[in-house]
């Protein structure tokens, strides 16, 4: 699984300073970033998949972490993005606190492969308060990547 994390994440798909201040804005900004990196063909399809999942239940977890995700056949394989919001965003988290670290995954609907497993692995890394602190204090995308690929 570590290999999937390594393969799916690179400096290109990490946003160090999110500008958006709303839940919808964060999701749109991350998807736009993936599109601009050339990882996404159909921005609208991906956005629809992630928002539909959010409608069922918010993916805001605890300790400032959110894991927006969705499945759509507009992607051929798992793509992922990591984003950091310095000010925090209300993501309807379970603990009511603002979310600051966002892990997004979009994977194909009709193919088998890790999707939840990817999120679970990254979440496992972020259970460590030290790792969260390092990511939040990172001034370069390389620092974030280093923590996630540990």
């Amino acid at each position: 699984m570590k290999k999937t994390i390594k393969k799916a994440l690179s400096c290109d798909n990490i946003i160090l300073n999110l500008k958006s201040e709303t839940k919808q804005g964060v999701i749109e900004e991350m998807i736009s970033h993936l599109k601009s990196c050339g990882l996404l063909r159909d921005k609208e399809g991906a956005l629809k998949a992630v928002l539909e999942r959010e409608k069922k239940m918010s993916t805001g977890m605890e300790n400032g972490i959110a894991i927006p995700h969705g499945k759509t056949d507009t992607v051929d394989s798992l793509i992922a993005a990591v984003a950091i919001s310095r000010q925090g965003v209300d993501f309807e988290c379970i603990d009511g606190k603002p979310a600051r670290i966002f892990i997004m995954t979009i994977s194909p609907l009709s193919q088998t492969g890790p999707h939840i497993q990817f999120l679970a692995e990254v979440s496992k890394l972020l259970r460590n308060p030290g790792a969260r602190r390092e990511i939040l204090n990172a001034i370069k995308v390389e620092n974030v990547l280093k923590v996630l690929k540990r």
């Binding site: 699984m1 679970a120 259970r127």
Partner: protein
């Protein structure tokens, strides 16, 4: 019904025999050879299944005993040698060669033995062995060493013409004495819910070392026999080289297999089809079996090593499931053909030796495994249970005997002794084992009971068994779509093993409750997957409630079903 079967088999036999008789009688004609093979195979498959069923259903004994008996009855030393009217020759003519059956039929039995040992390797529970490795090793070693020495010595003492501990016959009889087949024990303990008891896990751990040692000993003995048959006497230097080569081959391929099992499994997954993966895995077992034979060892060593290596991968259960059909077809053929090799005429003269050999083998296992168990903290009751659990013998004994017979190291008389020992051990073990497990604990020292690794459990209670079943099937689908291997333990219970690489999760549905057990580090994964599926259910229920008039839909569907035409 019985009349139907008799008529059916008679018609089948008559038609087949007529077809064979009308074909070209040229002995070396390929068509004739193949016709003979398929007819023989038909008789073998049907008889093995029939006798297996009878023995299991009416005598309450393992099917394998019926399959062996079928071989003895239809084989070249019994009914098989009777000339059939239309055929003008017997169905199983007694060949004047080392083996009394045709090379084609024996070849199928060899392939069956490879499949058998591959599956045995695949079923090896290495983690349990490693957990109880200290006691397990002592018990396995004790049983193997004492069995080998006593099996060899009794042959030297009682068999005319066998005068040395190193003679190939004595060595083969020693090797025959070592093999344990804990399949019967595992089934009995599982039925009695004792498989997870300290005695149960110790027996299973001991059986792993027993298998490995037995196979390495066989490799060495085959090597020594080959040297002796080439006319050279006992040369300790050469024997040392063979022992090293055998152990080296086994160790090298096992270590490589375990180290590269994950890479191999990943490479196989590239095939994207579980049937293709199973086929290639079996192909690898055949390949390594051939390599082992080329290295001067027994084929089954290679097959066992491939099975053992793949047993630690996430696809082990899937492989077992996919190859189950091949196994179920070939294995009765193997036991039946082995039964055919029993020459009754030679049995009379070695009946006493056979009984003495069997008694020695039973004593060696009970004492050889029981003593280390007693010294390791079990009480007398526990030590006896472990010794009794190691008593059954089965396929490995037969394969060793077959290898010995084919190589000329043992004659048909000693092959008969091996079958006798197998039959007696298989018949006496179940009642002994069942009785021994009655009563109080078998442990003397509390240190023996190790705490299980701390894990976590996710428990979910649903309003009804139907909703629980619905969620269960969705959770399993979700794991499957994440490329996990999902294996249902048996059809009688809703217990599933879910595996991928190092992640291992057990899902149990007990009426309206679903439990997921896993290591603490996999809790996130299990929780997220279950949560996603419950959200799906929520969406589904909302969708159903939005149906404008479910009652009307149902009414429309059933209206007119009983209308008069």
């Amino acid at each position: 019904m019985r009349k139907f079967f008799i008529t059916f088999f008679m018609t089948l036999g008559w038609t087949g025999i007529s077809a064979w008789a009308s074909s070209s009688p040229q002995e070396n004609d390929m068509g004739h050879l193949m016709t003979r093979l398929v007819l023989q195979l038909a008789v073998v498959v049907i008889s093995a299944r029939f006798f297996g069923f009878i023995v299991n259903r009416y005598l309450k004994q393992p099917r394998v005993l019926g399959e062996l008996a079928a071989g003895m009855i239809i084989g070249p030393y019994a009914l098989g040698s009777i000339s059939l009217p239309l055929l003008n020759q017997p169905m199983f003519p007694r060949l004047e060669a080392v083996l009394p059956v045709t090379p084609e039929l024996y070849g199928l039995a060899v392939v069956a033995s490879i499949v058998l040992l591959f599956m045995a390797g695949l079923e090896t529970d290495l983690p349990t062995f490693l957990k109880f490795s200290a006691i397990g090793s002592l018990i396995g070693l004790g049983g193997v060493v004492l069995s080998f020495v006593l099996g060899d010595l009794i042959s030297v003492l009682l068999l005319p013409g066998v005068d040395s501990f190193m003679s190939s016959t004595a060595l083969f009889m020693g090797t025959l004495s070592t093999a344990t087949s804990v399949g019967i024990t595992a089934r009995i303990l599982s039925e009695k819910r004792k498989l997870a008891s300290p005695e149960g896990v110790t027996i299973m751990a001991g059986a792993v070392l027993d298998d490995v040692l037995g196979i390495v000993i066989l490799a060495v003995v085959v090597g020594i026999t080959k040297i002796q048959s080439s006319g050279t006497g006992v040369e300790w230097g050469k024997i040392g080289i063979i022992a090293l080569k055998a152990f080296g081959f086994w160790l090298f391929f096992t270590v490589m297999g375990i180290l590269f099992a994950k890479k191999l499994s990943k490479g196989l997954k590239w095939l994207k089809s579980n049937d293709a993966i199973a086929g290639v895995s079996l192909g690898l077992a055949l390949f390594l079996a051939g390599l082992a034979e080329m290295a001067g060892l027994a084929m089954i060593i290679g097959a066992y090593v491939v099975g053992l290596s793949l047993s630690q991968t996430d696809m082990a259960n899937e492989l077992r499931e996919r190859l189950h059909g091949v196994y179920e077809f070939l294995v009765p053929v193997f036991f039946c053909v082995m039964g055919m090799l029993v020459n009754f005429a030679t049995l009379k003269s070695i009946l006493l030796f056979g009984l003495a050999f069997t008694a020695c083998a039973v004593f060696a296992k009970i004492f050889g495994c029981g003593l280390p168990a007693f010294l390791s903290g079990f009480n007398l009751r526990g030590a006896f249970r472990i010794g009794a659990g190691m008593l059954p013998r089965g396929e490995v004994t037969l394969i060793i005997a077959g290898v010995g017979l084919a190589s000329g190291a043992i004659g048909q008389d000693m092959f008969g002794v091996a079958i006798m020992a197998l039959l007696i051990a298989s018949v006496i073990t179940p009642p002994i084992l069942i009785r021994s497990f009655e009563g109080s604990s078998g442990i003397r020292s509390k240190k023996l009971i190790k705490e299980d690794d701390k894990g976590c459990q996710i428990k979910l209670e649903f309003p009804s068994i139907h909703i629980a079943g619905f969620i269960r099937s969705h959770i399993l689908d979700a794991f499957h779509s994440e490329e996990f291997f999902v294996h249902r333990l048996n059809l009688d219970s809703q217990i599933y093993h879910i595996r991928k690489d190092d992640v291992f999760i057990t899902l149990i549905q007990d009426k309206n409750i679903i439990r997921l057990n896993t290591a603490f580090e996999n809790k996130q994964l299990a929780s997220l997957i279950v949560a996603e599926e419950i959200l799906e259910l929520k969406e589904l229920l909302e969708g159903v409630s939005k149906l404008q008039s479910p009652d009307n839909i149902c009414e429309e569907l059933v209206t007119g079903l009983f209308k008069e035409e």
